[in-house]
């Protein structure tokens, strides 16, 4: 592990720190993007079934 990439005797510690940070940030970004896609898909599914933000609630008279 000595002089790893010219980073001296402790190159492994330095690369591990940067690598872990990259993993955590990539995980956060991935989680946020996947979550966004899931919410959009679920909303689109409801819209398809006629449950949209602009749809009016069915009154009793309409149902009868």
């Amino acid at each position: 592990m000595s002089t790893l990439l010219g980073l001296g005797n402790h190159g492994g510690f330095i690369l591990a720190a940067y690598g872990l940070t990259l993993l955590v940030v990539a995980g956060l970004v991935g989680w946020i993007l996947v979550d966004h896609r899931e919410q959009k898909r679920a909303l689109a599914d409801l819209e398809r079934r006629g449950i949209g933000r602009r749809s009016r609630p069915q009154g009793r008279g309409e149902a009868a």
Partner: protein, 268 residues
């Protein structure tokens, strides 16, 4: 657009869509410049050698862990005092991001401590108070997921956040109040920074880049939370509509009353 208009979630989402490309570009630009400076411009420390390069991610992560909880505390006031509709959305969306940066701070500190102090961990005041902060983030995340109603969860989380804010000055001044292994403040201090400019500038550039990154992730997570709440409302609307439709059928057509009762019994 007035600031108060951002209270409207639809307008807020529109604003996020507009500023997102700029924030992403600023995050990437500052972090890329900071990394270049950290590895190719900043010199080795005369005592710590190359391990000082861990500081360029450890310190920004530490700043963000404190900044995030402070921002959540302002949001908590917004929830409890002004009942601002986006306050608890902002607070909830920040929790996992704050926890992630606190985790980065703890682990990179440990990776820096092993070669410099000879140990991965010490129960000293700074390290322990940051660990407490991390546990508080996890506690808040658990609280948000335990209470289903977001309004009730928001109030409970706001109280816990404000109580937990007492830990922020403890973390900041722990190195002054107690005799710790951790070095004292060297950037934000009364007499000015004690770091040489060749190391200070890359650190500040990385800190700005990390702050843009945090803002980008936070706005995206807030957008997701608004959509999640919209989805919840629509599902409740759907459930209410199907309930009223069953009730109407039962009232309007007595001959089908038995069928309605059977449906309700089946749903239970």
């Amino acid at each position: 657009m007035a600031l108060i208009d951002l209270a409207n979630p639809t307008r807020f989402i529109a604003l996020v869509e507009r500023v997102l490309p700029v924030l992403v570009a600023l995050s990437i630009g500052f972090i890329a410049l900071g990394l270049y400076q950290a590895f190719f411009v900043a010199p080795e420390d005369y005592q710590q050698g190359d391990t000082v390069r861990i500081m360029f991610i450890h310190v920004p992560a530490a700043w963000l862990s404190l900044f995030c909880w402070s921002m959540m505390s302002v949001s908590a006031l917004g929830t409890l005092v002004w009942r601002h509709p986006l306050s608890d959305v902002a607070a909830k969306a920040a929790v996992p991001i704050g926890a992630a940066f606190t985790f980065v701070c703890l682990v990179t500190g440990s990776l820096w401590g092993k070669p410099m102090w000879g140990t991965w961990w010490m129960w000293d005041a700074r390290l322990t108070s940051v660990l407490v902060l991390f546990i508080m983030y996890l506690g808040l995340a658990a609280l948000w997921s335990t209470i289903e109603d977001p309004i009730r969860a928001g109030k409970a989380a706001a109280i816990l956040t404000l109580v937990g804010f007492v830990n922020i000055p403890i973390i900041k001044f722990s190195v002054d109040w107690w005799n710790t292994l951790h070095q004292p403040a060297s950037v934000f201090r009364a007499g000015g920074p004690t770091i040489h400019s060749s190391i200070l500038w890359p650190l500040l550039i990385m800190a700005i880049g990390f702050t843009f990154l945090f803002t980008t992730l936070h706005l995206l997570a807030m957008r997701n939370e608004i959509l999640r709440r919209r989805l919840r409302t629509l599902r409740m609307m759907e459930a209410a509509r199907s309930d009223s439709s069953v009730a109407t059928t039962t009232t309007a057509a007595p001959s089908t009353a038995k069928l309605g009762a059977a449906i309700e019994a089946g749903a239970e």
